[in-house]
Symmetry: C2
Subunit: 307 residues, 2 copies
């Protein structure tokens, strides 16, 4: 069974890891590139890296990002040179960024570079950048428009987001689009709808391609809160409302036929009728993934379910 | 007093550090760039880095290169990605290479980038790359022609050097040439004559500019051996003969008027007449620099001496 997971931050990556544990699933993960940025002259792709590290088992599971046991010697040296260091790059991370940047400078597409990196790390799932082109999320705030990492890391999401846009040609990577077109099931992971999933679906042809397949979306918002990250606060400051239903409504607004089944956490069972009102089949499941087994269990349930 | 030291490897760098300790010396070090190479898509300048680390006090004094206390987490990650790792890049080193590469990609000359790095590390001496252009040493051997680091590090200098050439336009950096032209004294450091000093003097106009100033050369060969590195073996395999006199003869062959005074170690006092026969004033001094104080003492003696 060919499953495509759309993933951005922690939640989507964990769920992708769940599918990667299922032997009968041929997994492709379409990764958000809207968070990408250059630091120290190197291309940093936080969402792709989280997938590379998680699916290879290198991830620092406690933090949810970076490589376990990573050191920060280069970071200290960058500080000596007077470089901006608000975006912490671990030493292993720096190797990742340097290697990727070299492959790109030598002419590889981001899709090819990511495939080479995944293969080197022994990952059998395909990790597919949503776009091979620059496609950067920008956040409008009362303090001006900011590059995503500038807002997310440097300013710790403090100025409320009042608008989100994407900078770039908006061309989906051919491999990502093809994987979606050939998927038996597309899973929209429990990632931030606006800055993780939104940038993927905003690429030309992507929302249409997704909508044409059976689609399950998993809410990243549980009992009104995101497990991690600014999703809940962003949904509100951008006028999308609050709670898991706001997520379903957000996807419904993008394309009324996009999502077939919408997964609510057990804590939100009472919201099922509101989901049904949007024309999506509600499914109530335990969605909090504390262990690797939790991830596989949720993935197995979704594969077994009929979207 | 304006002193310019021509420096490549360990010996020249140590002597430059000696001059940097003298308060009445305005020091500029012209650094060999023939050893430069790209690793992981980043420009590595081993001789400039040795100067940056030595003059800032960051150097791993025991090894004579790299940053004290450096870690190798990135190196291990590069290995995971299947990158060639025969050239060990420490994590702090990697920051150095990334920072330099970024400055160059943004349009800085190597001279400007090096000045920014030296300033950031609190170095008051000027470190001047001999050339702002690519000027790479290549070693001809029975096993073919090799890039310098390929021969020096990967093959550990094993195939004997039977020829040396330089690849690039051969243009001296304007700042380096100007520093030489304005020097009260030029010191040819006890670095490898062929691959550290030779590439500097081979740049258009450089040997002439050096020859026009008072010049002291310090032999890197003591009692027939180099303290470190392949200088003695290279001199022989390239047909320049052996011992400290071969070094003097090598410089004499480049330009008979290049060196005014040639410093022999005390162990080679008996060679003084041979130096005098070449038209250079021999000076016999303790040249082994075990401590920072040794470096300053030798530098002070050279400044006090009349070339």
């Amino acid at each position: 069974m060919r499953v495509v997971v759309l993933a951005g931050g922690t939640g989507g990556t964990k769920l992708a890891h769940g599918f990667a544990q299922l032997p009968d699933v041929e997994l492709a993960v379409v990764a958000n590139v809207g968070d990408d940025a250059e630091f120290h002259g190197l291309l940093v792709c936080p969402d792709i890296d989280a997938l590379l590290y998680t699916l290879s088992g290198l991830i620092d599971a406690e933090r949810g990002w970076g490589v376990a046991g990573d050191t920060h010697t280069a970071h200290d040296m960058f500080a000596r040179f007077g470089e901006e260091t608000w975006f912490t790059v671990g030493d292993a991370d720096l190797a990742t960024h340097a290697y990727r940047t070299r492959l790109l400078r030598e002419g590889a597409s981001l899709t090819d570079a990511t495939a080479a990196m995944a293969a080197a790390l022994g990952i059998s799932a395909r990790i597919l950048p949503a776009s091979d082109e620059r496609w950067r999320t920008r956040i409008r705030t009362d303090a001006g428009e900011l590059a995503f990492q500038d807002w997310f890391v440097r300013l710790r999401t403090e100025p409320a987001a009042i608008g989100v846009s994407h900078d770039g040609p908006g061309i989906a990577a051919p491999a990502a689009l093809e994987a979606v077109a050939n998927a038996d099931l597309v899973v929209i992971g429990p990632s931030n709808p606006i800055v993780s999933i939104g940038p993927i679906l905003a690429l030309a042809g992507m929302a249409t391609a997704v909508a044409a397949r059976p689609v399950i979306a998993v809410s990243p918002i549980i009992a009104g809160e995101a497990l991690k990250g600014p999703a809940a606060r962003m949904m509100e400051s951008l006028g999308h409302g609050s709670g898991a239903v706001a997520v379903a409504r957000y996807y419904h607004a993008l394309d009324a036929g996009l999502v077939d089944r919408f997964v609510l956490d057990e804590a939100d069972a009472a919201l099922a009728p509101d989901i049904a009102d949007l024309g999506m089949a509600p499914a109530v499941l335990p969605t909090i993934m504390r262990t690797d087994a939790d991830r596989a269990t949720l993935a197995r349930t979704l594969v077994g379910s009929d979207p």
